[in-house]
Amino acid sequence: MAVAAGGLARAGRSRRRHLLEQNRVLGPLLISPAVLFVVVVVGVPLGWAIYLSMTNAIGGSLSGKFVGFDNFRAAWRDQNFRNALENTLIITFAVQAIVVVSAAVLSNALVRDFRGKWFVRLLIVLPWAAPVSLVTIGWLWIFDSLFSIVNWTLKELHLLGVVCAAFGVHGCGASNPPQWLGNDKLAMFAIIVVQAWRIIPFAVIIFIAGRSSIPTEVEDAVKIDGASALKKLWYVDLPLQLPIALVAVLFGIVFTAADFAVVFILTHGGPFNSTQVLTTWAYTVGIDSGSLGEGAAISLFLFPLLIAVTILMLFFAKRAQVS
């Protein structure tokens, strides 16, 4: 689009050219293709999804009777929905906590120079390079009910008992190894691990970016002051990294809360519905159970929530930076 516009300009009728020099003309002109695209490809279907959420449409037909907010009310009353909402929140926050701590530690180490750094960095970006749906199948194999490598290793290290006790799994031991995808607590844990695992590389990169944006004068000043490492971390690094950490958290939240593949592939919401999250529950209700309207309503629940979080985050990121 830019190229085409450039061609026009070069053709060079002075009046048009003059217009193109004006911000109020050029600005909208440059923005409009993107906006148009987004409106057509996202706006139209989103509008349709909102319409669906207010009808009693079912899977085998396209439209339904208008029912207002009944679907939202029905979803809200459903214990499974509340459970899914709670799981979404738990998973999202737990993952962010793990990711932020890991990324802070890792980025701190990775800005230093050391032998083998290139290779280590390669290992760390690996999870990010793997397609989510495929690598989750890889995790399915890791957590396999019979051939789980985690359980084999724990057993050889005589740690099974410790792990079973830590999770309070009844009757678990060498002959009944922990079922990472078959016990509600363990399955939640497994989902959190996989989500954190795949997001850490991304967060590390953002954190490194954030560190490298700390002006060198600040570093120098701290060195002259002879501040201890801990003090430096607390008073200098952390405040300066706050905005960037917020951005990493923001993306982490979006990646985790809006993800469908990990839970769908790992547990399919089970055992019973104990690991359903909003995305998979919307799928279960909308596709499996055929209640398109209610499914659409459930999937829309997340949207305002994410918008609120995003605006809040961006606001704080801005403030943190200004101060």
Binding site: L26, V42, L106, P127, P131, G138, I208
Partner: protein, 292 residues
Amino acid sequence: MTAWLAGTWRRSSTWVIVGPFAIVLAFPFYWALTTTFKHDLDLYNQKSIPYTYNDASGHAHWDFWNYMTFHHVSFLFKHTEYPTWLLNTAIVGVAVVAITLVLALPAGYALARLSGAWGQMAGVGIFLVYLVPPTLLFLPLSRLIAELNLQDTLWAMILVYPSFTVPFATWLLMGFFKTIPQELEDAALVDGCSRLKALWRIVFPVSVPGILTVVIFAFSLCVNEFIYAFTFTSSTSERTISAGVPNELIRGDVFFWQSLMAAVLIPSIPLALLYNSFLDRFIKGFTGGAFR
């Protein structure tokens, strides 16, 4: 001597921190690699030592390479359309990245430079589109795809994927363009360049790190996408890896674990190498972009 000791400690202390993380993060790939070359009778044997290769009765041997098999890798290439899926993934990725840049570069620039106070708001607004939940959006979108007669073609994905790459890319590039000194452009304008020319000649070239960030990010989002890829295509030959592999290598009652693991590794490792070698520039792109 003490300096040497201190240096050694500094080096190894980094390893003490980084090592465990690297092991945990890379472990699934190591495990996938090990699994890929196993015989069925080794894989499905509880007596086998999983970290190495065993004979049919579950005994490990030092010459483990004699107990490996390439059968499942060759199965992937000879009896499934895996190479086609790889190629499809690459085609979709490259096309989407191109579309993303064409749409997001001008938009990001405009929001950064040409659109006063509401630019910031509009930037956030565009970003919010990224948050639209995809779970059930695939239904209305498949209608759109059908209307355009693109069902079961790569074009379906090429058209739809920018819906989540463009918002992010625009937002990122907006931030990035703000870091480029206005003076650079002004100089060009004084020289008699038009604004568009200045954009093309001056601004874009110095934005390479930002653009690279967008490229990598958009590409990885495309490779990850699953629902659209699955529902918009149904011919084996039009699948991308994330839809084709689960569909063809999980046949209801049987998971072809070894081939599945090979299918995970084959795209991941080159992509990781690629990302890693661009990482420094990527970091620069992000530093400039997201936070101003």
